[in-house]
Amino acid sequence: MIDERIFRQFQEIGRDLYVADLVSSHGGNMSVRLGDRLVIKRRGAMLGRLKEGDLVETGLEKPDSGIALASTELVVHRAIYVATPALAVVHAHPRTAIALSLSREEIVPIDNEGSYLLHRVPVVTAEFASGSAELVEKLPRVLQEYKIVMLRGHGCFSIGQTLEEAFQWVSCLEESCQIILAAKAINEPLVEYRKMSEEYRTW
């Protein structure tokens, strides 16, 4: 039985992700860890309109019938929980970040908030970018060191103690990417305002 408080958190963050254009109508997913179990969005459910029955509880390591209903990305969520201290995982499709991921090996914010909170976001390439063994192998390793990672051309995975925290990294990343894009469009030399900014690439 999923606690009503937990369902409400899914509803609120799911709605925020959709309203902020960070996912399409049926895209993205999220989960929280409860001991040796996890709660994840049902496959096909709309993050912006989560209803009772749209959340699925299943074993963290031991499969049960819950896997028949869970999001395609379940295997990735599981692997992240096993390998990191995460208690919540958000997977979203931030558009500007996806666009930048197509040409970059990393995204290094140039705005103050992004520099302060994220420093550097690695970009990972996978041939099959949804629920694949390749993702299971690559993503958790990166998330041991970083709280958010971009999957080239697909979207991001972020981790936190709560859904809200994981959502914050997604929201912050997309804002930083929009600023990078805007600065490129303005096309004027940047004035560096950050001390030791050259170190961000090594974060």
């Binding site: 999923i2 606690d3 408080r5 937990i6 929280v32 860890r33 409860l34 001991g35 040796d36 390998a83 990191t84 201290p85 208690l87 302060y116 420093h119 998330l143 041991q144 060191e145 970083y146 709280k147 936190g160 103690q161 709560t162 809200e164 925290e165 914050q168 001390k195 030791m196 170190e199 090594t202 974060w203």
Partner: protein, 625 residues
């Protein structure tokens, strides 16, 4: 070496007198250890020997330092057959790989021992200057075993380590001893006062005059050894693998601490007592021995009142930008503090709102060397028992006039104080009323009512040294919204949050840093600092895993001592008596539901025993074979 085999130590032990001839050996150590000094000072008081041992690099990597290293050493040195106050118990003082590096709050150190209050594994940690100065003597840790026939103190300087006569210091207070042994800007004194000598089970060890290794009675262990003090003086600094990288991480941390209002404004301005009014407003401030969860006069003992009426200035431990320490003055006395926990324990817990009386009681605890939380909570327990007629005493809630004499009576074991000096659990049990001891595993609970903070209740119940708010405080997520606010009454899913905070706290206690930084700074920053200092790559996941390893080793220690699931509980009052009024009205702790989830999340069986798979995963399986 006497006692149990010390498997982790390399076989290159040499006597302290040979130290000057060991330049080659020292160079060998330093060649592969950065951050750590690579040595442990081993003092056997019974034999009168002082030896230097090499610190095993792999043990340092796995257990970091501080609490982790102390627990690992204690596992080998102090088995279940050892009584806490016997000569066979060990006192293990440890610094960590970040101690003395000038990373924010890298002044701290720990002491590990078997607690005379709880019988569990114990570590207590403290700030000030002693930890940094001890590391600069060239050692990561100091093991003290055995017992001297007459009072001694240990002096460690760059040229030698020696045991000296302390007969003239016995029975002296902490300020007297600290001054007599020459505390200065280059020299730090750590000592016990009369309660330690008199084996009060919650006697503290004090350092730098006013800082405290407070909880669990390490002071009594030191008293039982006839060791009055440890004085340190040193200039040797740890090496860095990448100093430029370290500077960058430190700079980024300074931004985090500045941007967080708690660490940059609230703590400096009001001290830790800034949370008094906040916790009280939520109905989570234990009052009159946890009979209520709101104190109607909390404002009188709040951080604001302390600042307005008693504050002279704030000061800081070495390398700390937060500066939460209060220098205060009443009409009669001056001193440091009180901290939030002390204001609560000697104030709200006892139904006392006289700020000056509470501050003076706190000064007195510091001068004598007593844990203020256990002192206040034990007195509160006696107050309730006296009001209910269980004991014959004048103690009553609100009797500020009796605080001073009761504390003195505990310190010198006079009259009722002799019974109270055993701690609230033994005291209440002795009078057939164990339900009035607000403790877990014998350790008195701190200043948060678990009925109004469900996660905090689970934290207290599962804390390895007994009820403790420094083993992963849920104040951050359940009250202050750090890193994010979670529902304080939520039960499902709370175990994961508690475990994460417990593991993080174990890692931070092993680095050794002040956990106040963790209110603003995430683990990834510590991991990057550790990498820069040691040259050994650490991710935040690695750091949390090290914390988990340490937590599990502490659990194994307690299981070896005979503790079980039955000990992971709370006082009956908190499980059965709903909060009578206020915002937490009607709530009890839902511990049982959270505990099952907690064990599963930990990878323990239903009895709270780590599974073989979990031990294998953490590299602890060899210890239990």
């Amino acid at each position: 070496m006497s006692g149990r085999a010390v498997r982790w130590v390399q076989a290159t032990a040499f006597r302290q007198s040979e130290r000057s001839e060991s330049g080659f050996w020292q160079a060998m150590q330093h060649a592969h250890m950065r951050g750590w000094m690579g040595k442990v000072l081993d003092v056997d008081l019974s034999a009168g020997t002082i030896e230097s041992q090499a610190l095993d690099a792999e043990v340092a990597r796995l257990f970091l330092g501080g609490r982790g290293l102390g627990t690992r050493l204690l596992w080998d040195l102090v088995g279940p057959e050892v009584e806490p106050l016997s000569p066979d118990n060990a006192l293990i003082f440890c610094t960590g790989p970040l101690t003395g590096t000038a990373f924010q709050t890298s002044n701290r150190f720990t002491v590990s021992t078997k607690s005379p209050l709880t019988g569990t594994v114990l570590d207590a940690n403290s700030g000030g200057f002693w930890g940094m100065r001890f590391k600069r003597t060239g050692y990561d840790a100091l093991i003290v075993r055995g017992r001297t026939d007459s009072p001694r103190y240990l002096e460690v300087t760059p040229s030698a380590a020696a045991l000296k006569d302390a007969s003239h210091l016995w029975s002296k207070t902490v300020p007297e001893t600290t001054a007599a042994l020459g505390q200065s800007s280059r020299r730090s004194v750590l000592c016990i006062g009369p309660p330690g000598e008199n084996l009060v089970r919650f006697a503290a060890i004090m350092n730098d005059g006013t800082r405290s290794l407070g909880r669990g009675g390490a002071g009594a262990v030191m008293g039982a050894k006839n060791l009055k003090a440890v004085v340190v003086e040193g200039e040797e600094k740890p090496e860095f693998a990448d100093r430029a990288r370290f500077r960058f991480v430190r700079y980024e941390v300074s931004k985090q601490l500045t941007a967080n209002p708690l660490t940059s404004q609230a703590f400096p301005r009001f001290g830790t007592a800034v949370v008094m009014n906040i916790v009280n407003a939520l109905g989570a401030l234990p009052t009159r021995n946890f009979q209520q969860a709101q104190f109607e006069e909390a404002e009188e003992i709040s951080g604001e009142a302390l600042t307005d009426r008693l504050l002279v200035k704030n000061t800081a431990c070495w390398a700390c930008p937060i500066a939460c320490t209060r220098v205060t003055k009443t009409a009669r006395k001056d001193g440091e503090g009180p901290e939030y926990e002390s204001l609560w324990a000697l104030g709200a817990a006892c139904g006392i709102a006289d700020l000056e009386a509470v501050a003076e009681a706190s000064y007195l605890c510091n001068e004598l060397g007593l844990d203020t939380i256990s002192t206040g909570s034990t007195i509160a327990c006696a107050m309730e028992m006296a009001e209910r007629g269980t004991i014959d005493s004048d103690l009553r809630f609100g009797r500020a006039d009796l605080l001073r004499e009761t504390i003195q009576a505990i310190a010198y074991r006079r009259g009722l104080g002799d019974e109270l000096a055993e701690g609230s659990r033994r005291f209440a049990q002795g009078h057939g009323a164990p339900e009035y001891s607000m403790s877990v595993k014998g350790m008195e609970m701190p200043a948060y009512d678990p009925r109004g903070m469900q996660g905090q209740g689970l934290l207290y119940a599962t804390s390895n040294r007994g009820a403790c708010h420094m083993r992963g405080n849920m104040l951050g997520p359940e009250v202050l919204g750090l890193p994010k606010l979670i529902d304080r009454f939520q039960v499902q899913g709370k175990a994961g949050m508690v475990i994460l905070h417990q593991n993080a706290a174990a890692a931070i206690d092993s680095l050794v840093l002040c956990k106040f930084t963790n209110m603003a700074v995430a683990e990834e920053y510590y991991a990057r600092a550790l990498t820069a200092v040691t040259g050994i790559p650490h991710s935040s996941g690695d750091l949390i895993r090290a914390g988990e390893r340490i937590w599990n080793l502490e659990r194994l220690y307690n299981l070896r001592e005979g503790f079980s699931r039955a000990d992971d509980t709370l006082p009956r009052r908190l499980l059965e008596e709903p909060v009578p009024e206020g915002p937490s009205k009607g709530w009890v702790s839902h511990l049982a539901e959270m505990l099952d989830e907690y064990y599963r999340f930990r990878g323990w069986d239903e009895n709270g025993v780590p599974t073989g798979r979990k031990l294998e995963e953490l590299g602890l399986h060899d210890l239990t074979r």
